[in-house]
């Protein structure tokens, strides 16, 4: 059963894809500056390029997750969205806030704290957007036909995400406290609340794309959410080893974060099992590629590459090196980027009521981006190992290490980045060929046309 108001997801996905392309473009720029520091350094110094690289990522992923939520909630709650108008106003509010933030970065307006650099006044606009969003989906569910496990975990995650953002807004006088609460935002987002949201959206898609019973999928959704939070909340301790916090965090962080891969393994196992016991042969193969590719790279990037350096005895050597960058790139890509792309590929054709679109380019985009990112992760891992050896074991100065031993690695990183960017180019082209875009284009917004609803 489809609802007219699900279409408000469209502009969220559109902006999400545009910002993703922007993120990758800035990634290429700073990747090049690593090798040739002079490139555009007067106009766009490394620090500005990097904060745009990080913030466009946070922003496009959040917009994508919000779009997916707007698509999912009416179907789950079995009623139209509480207010299409709020969803649209919220979209424009967040879009303009995002543009203002990026323009501000270009002019040096920053709070200088990674991932959450947006200035205070924009923080409040983001909070306003989040409140409108939570109110809108909350009212939809309350007025709808009751809660499902998917809805509960999704909205729990979204609420947690919003509350945690507040801890990133304060100026802390003490750097130790600053980093302590900064991790509440960053860690409890990506290893807590975002995981809940992603798992719920994944469950929504799995039920529809495999035809496996809701009961079975939601049981595993619960189990995964329980394990993610049981290991992830105190797993924050792996960020509290060296920042000035007490020594007991070494034991707490080590213990809980060693367990963090368990729910990620379960997610792979569960998704593959649902796929194998599918009762329908879904036409939308590209969506399935991204779903399955996502859970696998989520496990490798976040689980494997995370757990190998999470124990203090290893982490004291690898902390703050290219090994972290290697882990970060594959984890974000596998856990969240691929999930948002999967949602776009599933929901846009679904929105238009037809999954029989041409899938060749989508599959090319999948394989190109995936191989580009896996190769980049491998290169960064190699670079990290060399860095650890020279800098941490031999005690060579960072600058000497970087200038004399990193250029070849970083050249390969740039080349793998170009491969990835080529895949993103295909994705962008394909986005504008997906059925929803076509119907969107020829039928105006589609939201006002009753006859179209019947055709869905």
């Amino acid at each position: 059963m489809h609802y007219r108001s699900q279409r408000v997801a469209y502009p969220y996905f559109l902006l999400s894809i545009i910002l993703f392309a922007l993120q990758v473009a800035f990634g290429l720029l700073i990747g090049a500056q690593f090798i040739w520091p002079g490139i555009l350094s007067g106009l766009l110094p490394f620090d500005v390029g990097r904060e745009i690289h990080l913030n466009t990522m946070v922003f496009w992923l959040l917009l994508g997750l919000m779009g997916a939520t707007y698509y999912l909630v009416p179907e789950e709650a079995q009623r139209e969205l509480y207010s299409v108008k709020i969803a649209r106003v919220q979209f424009w509010l967040l879009a303009l806030t995002g543009v203002a933030a990026v323009v501000g970065f270009l002019f040096g307006l920053t709070e200088g704290r990674e991932y959450i650099e947006a200035p205070r006044v924009l923080d409040w606009l983001i909070v306003a957007g989040a409140l409108m969003f939570l109110y809108n989906i909350g009212m939809t569910v309350i007025k709808g036909k009751g809660w499902t496990a998917t809805l509960g975990i999704l909205i729990g995650g979204l609420t947690g995400l919003s509350v945690l953002y507040l801890f990133g807004m304060k100026f802390f006088e003490n750097l130790v406290l600053d980093q302590y609460y900064w991790w509440w935002v960053i860690h409890l987002w990506v290893e807590g609340t975002w995981e809940m949201i992603a798992a719920a959206i994944l469950a929504f898609m799995l039920i529809r794309i495999t035809g496996v019973s809701r009961k079975r999928v939601e049981k595993w959704l619960y189990i995964e959410a329980i394990l993610v939070l049981a290991t992830g909340i105190l797993g924050i301790g792996h960020h509290y080893y060296w920042i000035g916090t007490p020594e007991y965090w070494l034991a707490i962080g080590g213990f809980f974060s060693m367990l963090e891969p368990i729910p990620l393994v379960l997610m792979v196992w569960d998704t593959l099992r649902e796929y194998k016991s599918r009762t329908i042969k879904h036409q939308n193969e590209v969506a399935l590629y991204w779903i399955i590719g996502g859970v696998v790279l989520h496990f490798i990037g976040a689980g494997v590459l995370g757990v190998v350096q999470t124990l203090p005895v290893v982490n004291q050597w690898t902390h703050g090196t290219q090994m972290t960058a290697s882990h970060g790139h594959l984890a974000f890509f596998g856990a969240f980027a691929m999930l948002v792309i999967a949602a776009i590929y599933y929901m846009l054709p679904d929105m238009a009521g037809r999954h029989d679109y041409k899938q060749g380019l989508g599959k090319w985009a999948f394989w190109t981006m995936t191989s580009g990112m896996v190769a980049m992760t491998a290169v960064l891992l190699g670079a990290g190992i060399v860095q650890v050896y020279l800098e941490r074991i031999l005690g060579m100065a960072f600058v000497t290490m970087k200038n004399q031993y990193m250029n070849t690695w970083m050249l390969w990183r740039f080349i793998t980045g170009l491969v990835f960017a080529a895949g993103v180019g295909m994705l962008v082209v394909d986005f504008f060929r997906l059925p929803a875009y076509v119907s969107h284009r020829f039928n105006g917004t589609g939201l006002k046309r009753k006859q179209e609803v019947k055709s869905l």
Binding site: I30, Q33, P37, G38, P45, F46, D47, R50, E51, G108, T110, E111, G112, R113, E114, A149, G152, I153, F171, E173, N174, L175, V176, D178, Y180, W182, K215, K219, Y222, I223, A225, I226, L229, A230, I233, L234, Y240, Y241, W242, I243, G244, P246, Y248, W249, I252, Q316, G320, T321, Q322, E391, I393, L394, G395, M396, A397, F398, V399, T400, N403, Q404
Partner: protein, 221 residues
Amino acid sequence: MTSLRNLLIAVVLISGAALGYLTYDSTAQLEQRTIPLTDEVVNGKQVWQDNNCINCHTILGNGAYFAPDLTKIAVKRDPEWLTRFFKSPGDLWPGTVMSKIRLNGEDAENLTAFLTWVKDIDTNGWPPDPPGGQDSGQPQDGSESTGKAIFDSECSVCHQFDGSGGNAGPDLTNIGRDRSKEWLKSFLRDPQEVKPGTVMGNPGLDSEEINAVTEYLTSLK
């Protein structure tokens, strides 16, 4: 399903309560693990953020991997050098990509105060002493190999020696021909006294380290 839901809620409440208690305790221990804050340190932290330092550097290991970690920079460089550097990095380090940063005197001093405060944070021993480097605990016999380790870790950022190192300072490959060991030793003890106005900061080496690096630098003459 209801029992799974209740278990989920219980997990959130228990883990949340545990994190809350640990946060309370970690905050209470802050006084023993950091030295008291001054206005200069707090203002310096604001300078650190306003200039987006974390998007090139790491501090306490967190940040970007484009430039050195600055947790212990105030151990390696003396405050006067740091303040001079922040006012005009290109003067002390020609060609640095940081040359666009030009802090006014007050901001530069505050940033130095901030980084000086940071070096005393009790980080549970991070970063560890390099086991293969100069502080490896092996006896420093004044040999060339110890000297090379010191050169790689301290001097090579700015100076070339035998084809390896940076370009900010003079190439030291032939320094053994141009200067005597005694001159080098007294210069390394206090560069400003021997050569007033030099851009080189005090490298902060003890006399054994000075002997070792002098042996290494004069080994090619």
